[in-house]
């Protein structure tokens, strides 16, 4: 899908972090690899520390916390909200839906559209796409876009390939109509035939969770995980990023849609430092405009990674200036996409900690 959106803007961004920090150095003993070998990955991959939610905390808890924060601090009024869109891989239940739970707990009225989208790493771009489309039918309203995941609950603590990278977090982005906003370029690709590269095999209707699916086993690569846990085929994802994602970006920059030098910031999804660095080298993106510090400070928070990167690194400038931004995401599905849009002169932009 390639399209343009017009008359839409982001007016506020909130990052919500759990207060618990897991430290890579403390977790090395959980893995079955030599410590020296594992330590070497610290710098290369960006393993350092990650945010971990409580076992009892869910995405809707983060959404309620964040939306109440926004409402109580006057960022937005309840009656201004036309829709709540939640993009997450972590539903509280199969039924009801996270967006309904959040809207209900925050006391939004029955005129508010509630919509859940099950997407991972591309969740911010897909959430914006959906928000923009909704706004075409909600001329005087705003959309509250919630991106959040608590995937640490679904990763084995004995999986050195995945556990050190993952982080729990949520973001809330307020999206609204603005006739003067610059046109937004959007491109999204999806290839379900390669979906097995990022997978949680058990827990759905195909393979319900059971005592069998909870059994930990070495699946041949030295990492111990169960079928209930998420697994990423690192080699396949790396190749995917180096081929499909790099080609998409090179193509869009080479065909004249935009030039690399047009952008102030590159906010990309951050799977790990090495993968992002190799992508930047291939596409020729200047490293001083591409932020790669999310994994080492918070872990990879899936669909929340792009807004969290923006809030963490550029809060002041996004509050005070208008910036031309290139957003790119890639991951589960497989899905990969890019968006060019102006972000800035935000009404609000903040990061908060919760006790979740």
């Amino acid at each position: 899908m390639i399209t343009n959106f017009s008359g839409k803007k982001i007016s506020a961004m909130l990052g919500i972090l759990p207060e618990t920090i897991g430290h890579f150095d403390d977790e090395i003993g959980n893995y079955s690899f030599p410590a020296q070998q594992t330590m070497r990955l610290k710098k290369v991959m960006g393993y350092n520390q990650h945010r971990l939610s409580k076992e009892t905390s869910t995405v809707s808890d983060f959404g309620v916390f964040g939306l109440n924060y926004i409402l109580q601090n006057g960022w937005i009024k309840k009656e201004e909200i036309g829709a709540v869109v939640v993009v997450s891989l972590c539903p509280d239940y199969f039924v009801p839906h996270n967006s309904n739970i959040i809207a209900g707990n925050c006391g939004l009225g029955d005129g508010v559209i509630c919509l859940d989208i099950a997407q991972g790493c591309c969740g911010f771009l897909i959430g914006l796409m959906q928000s923009f489309m909704l706004l075409d039918h909600l001329p005087n309203k705003k959309v509250v876009l919630v991106n959040g995941d608590v995937l640490s609950h679904k990763i084995s603590k004995r999986d050195r390939n995945d556990y050190p990278l993952i982080g729990d977090a949520a973001t809330i982005t307020v999206v609204e109509n603005d006739a003067s906003a610059k046109s937004i370029y959007y491109e999204m690709h999806m290839d379900g035939s390669r979906g097995g590269a990022l997978k949680i095999p058990a827990g759905g209707f195909r393979m319900p969770a059971s005592s069998d699916t909870a059994k930990m086993q070495d699946l041949g690569d030295g990492n111990f995980r169960a079928l209930d846990h998420m697994h990423m085929d690192g080699s396949e994802i790396f190749n995917f990023v180096q081929t499909d994602v790099a080609s998409m970006l090179l193509n869009v920059f080479n065909k004249g849609v935009a030039k690399i030098e047009d952008f102030d910031y590159f906010f990309f999804h951050q799977p790990n430092r090495f993968m992002l660095q190799k992508l930047a080298e291939k596409v020729g993106i200047p490293k001083d405009k591409l932020f790669m510090n999310l994994v080492e400070n918070f872990g990879n928070p899936s669909g929340a990674s792009i807004p969290l990167t923006a809030i963490y690194n550029c809060r002041e400038s996004l509050l005070n200036e208008n910036k031309r931004c290139c957003l790119a995401a890639f991951g589960s599905g497989l899905a990969w996409g890019v968006m060019f849009m102006d972000i800035g002169n935000l009404d609000y932009c903040e990061m908060v900690e919760s006790n979740l």
Binding site: Q37, L41, N161
Partner: protein, 79 residues
């Protein structure tokens, strides 16, 4: 230092428990996994002052000392 010796030194530093001189294919023999390849790539880039293209980070280019050296030399040529 001889380039091949340096590569063997890096491999020994990375996974001291393995004997790389008696393996015909480091990856197939299980002496290097994908995360070792990532670590070795950064070691090679730092020592030989090259940038290894992401598309070249594939198992066959890490199968032997000769293959790794060829990768380094081709990366020098493309930088």
């Amino acid at each position: 230092m001889d380039e091949k010796k340096k590569i063997l030194e890096m491999l020994a530093e990375l996974r001291p428990e393995f004997d790389y001189e008696n393996s015909s294919n480091f990856v197939e023999d299980g002496l290097l996994d994908s995360f070792d390849i990532v670590s070795l790539t950064t070691m090679l880039e730092e020592y030989f002052k090259v940038t290894i293209d992401g598309m070249s980070i594939v198992p066959e280019n890490y199968a032997s000392v000769d293959a790794i050296l060829a990768l380094v030399k081709s990366s020098k040529g493309s930088n």
